[in-house]
């Protein structure tokens, strides 16, 4: 199997060997690592310890990976409630990196990494690149945003560890992206799939045929996309498009990726143990049955996550993959079990929009969230009905209201928001309430993926 990949997709990287571990060996590794992780969290994270004590569970009760179902869940709100460092299992003196992402209220969610964690992250990103045929000698244009978001640096470290040349161009500035793509003989690009579609379109407008370039691999994530979109990208660019998955709470990008078979995403389960559960009963789903993905970190030191509820809905694929990897596969994330939206890699909840509107007007006006895609980038629009209390007979009065709403929303969400004031009673209501979210992003087909490592910000730095 390994030879097969070597022959077809260039040199095999030794770090990928774990992808092909015999199942018993993988199982033993997971069991050992789970015990270490539970032990670490029990000793160092008060919230986790108290939850264990509440159900009368001791670290010794976890004898192997099959006992994982005994452990309590962790939710995104736990990170918020213990902001900023409450879930850390190491003193901050051992932390070498901090990232942050939007939370459910004004405060972001903070994630921390020790030196070992950064090494694990580099390793899984290396294995991600290797799985889709990237190798030393490739030139990688990394158009994910660099900064507090995990996307840019995550991809950067992985590509560098692989021995590829990384261009840390970050998000935005399409003109420069196209120039670099052409002049630097780029072979691999990392960005959102919709931004890549936009790049193709803009390159064509300049009379450039992207098919003539050496570019051959696209590592796409941070937003919903579909197989339909893949077909469109691959037929218009000669680029093979791969879906990458991750979330900052677990590590960032690199939790899983498609291999060259493009038949589901392999999860690096020697580091992140996956379960698929019924989100209502919390019982495990059999392979092939849709449920919520729950992830447990097996090697993270700074921020161990035990049974983290991703709210991403997927299914396990039980058949072995033709690539020979033994690590498990899941289908593209089809949707979410909550109302979270992923906009340019940033997580947004409708409740955040409500809080921001309330802060300005004191009462909640009727509003509607419109998600659309312009120039390859997601846009968040909010329609707000004008209320008698806030209506002014002067243009400056209404513009002032508009500015207050925009500012309140943008500072709460951390992304650009287009606010539009509309006449009263114009927003559609069902059961007296306006339909809150209208997603007009064209995903190419009904079943859309939601592969957001929350935090990827391939746009012009979120603004």
């Amino acid at each position: 199997m390994i030879e097969r990949i070597t022959a077809k997709d260039g040199p095999f990287h030794p770090a990928s060997a774990v992808d092909f571990l015999p199942l018993q060996q993988l199982h033993d590794l997971q069991s050992r690592r789970l015990k270490e992780t539970v032990d670490l969290a029990y000793r160092r994270v008060p919230l986790f310890r108290s939850r264990m004590e509440k159900i009368g569970l001791e670290p010794e009760d976890i004898r192997g990976i099959e006992d994982i179902q005994l452990l309590p869940f962790t939710e995104k709100t736990d990170l918020r409630d213990t902001y900023p460092f409450g879930l850390l299992a190491v003193p901050t003196s051992e932390v070498v990196r901090l990232h942050a992402s939007s939370g459910t209220t004004g405060k972001p969610i903070v994630v921390a990494y020790t030196r070992e964690d950064v090494a694990v992250w580099s390793e899984v990103m290396l294995r991600s690149f290797a799985a889709c045929g990237v190798h030393a000698g490739d030139i990688v244009q990394n158009a994910y945003g660099y900064g507090l978001f995990t996307g840019g640096l995550g991809a950067h470290y992985g590509a560098e560890a692989l021995g590829a040349a990384v261009i840390p161009i970050s998000g935005g500035n399409t003109e420069r992206q196209i120039m670099v793509l052409k002049d630097f003989n780029v072979t691999v690009i990392c960005c959102t799939p919709s931004y890549f579609c936009y790049l193709i379109e803009q390159a064509e407008k300049k009379g450039m045929d992207i098919r003539q370039l050496p570019l051959r691999v696209g590592v796409f994530g941070a937003e919903p996309w579909s197989d339909e979109m893949r077909k469109r990208i691959e037929s218009s660019s000669c680029v093979r498009a791969f879906d990458i998955y991750g979330l900052s709470e677990i590590i960032g990008p690199g939790v899983g990726i498609e291999c060259v078979q493009q038949a589901g995403l392999h999860l690096f389960e020697d580091h992140f143990y996956p379960e698929v559960i019924d989100p209502v009963t919390n019982e495990p789903c059999p392979d092939g049955v849709e449920g919520e993905l729950v992830l447990t970190t097996l090697t993270k030191k700074a921020l161990p996550m035990i049974r983290y509820r991703t709210h991403d809905i997927t299914t396990f694929i039980s058949e072995p993959c033709a690539c020979g990897r033994t690590i498990r596969r899941i289908h593209r994330i089809s949707r979410r079990s909550d109302d979270m939206m992923i906009i340019r890699g940033v997580n947004v909840f409708p409740s955040q929009v409500e809080t921001a509107l309330l802060a300005v007007e004191g009462t909640l006006p009727h509003y509607q969230i419109i998600l659309s895609r312009k120039n390859g980038l997601d846009h968040l629009g909010v329609l707000v009905e004008v209320t008698p209390e806030f209506f002014s007979d002067t243009v400056s009065g209404i513009e002032n209201l508009h500015n207050l709403l925009s500012h309140s929303l943008e500072s709460a969400l951390g992304i650009r928001v287009d606010v539009r004031l509309v006449e009263p009673h114009t927003l559609q209501r069902s059961e007296g309430k306006a339909r809150r979210v209208l997603d007009q992003r064209s995903l190419g087909e009904q079943e859309a993926g939601m592969d957001g490592f929350e935090n990827f910000c391939p746009g012009p730095n979120g603004k």
Partner: protein, 149 residues
Amino acid sequence: MKIKQLSLFLENQAGKLYYPCKVLADAGIDILTLSLADTQQFGILRLIVDDWEKARTVFEKAGSVVKVTEVVAVEVENRPGGLAGILEILEESRINIEYMYAFTFGRQDRAIMIFRFEDSDGAIRVLNTKGVRIVSQTDLKHHQNGREC
């Protein structure tokens, strides 16, 4: 001496102006004058009507957001320099105008300007001392009737 103006919020879209005018027509309310302020996204329709209270009621019933504002109607001589003379008085007293629009009626030698001031009472005081004629709500009706003659 102030008069009541109704303001309505409109989205800047084709056909949006028709609806409020239809509401007034159906209620038998006459528009004396109007002005429309527009931006790329929205417009504000300002109306002086013959029965502002009835107009407010029908708009509210129709679900519109309507605001009643007090504005000042000033008589201006219909000759070159007529308006400039008024503005000179306001400028000297540093009275700020939010917006203004014109109102014509039957008489050839007079026009009426509608002013929205930041400080209406201050403006009226200054204009009064300079002998400028301020038109009341009933005067407006009277003018209106005159036009109809």
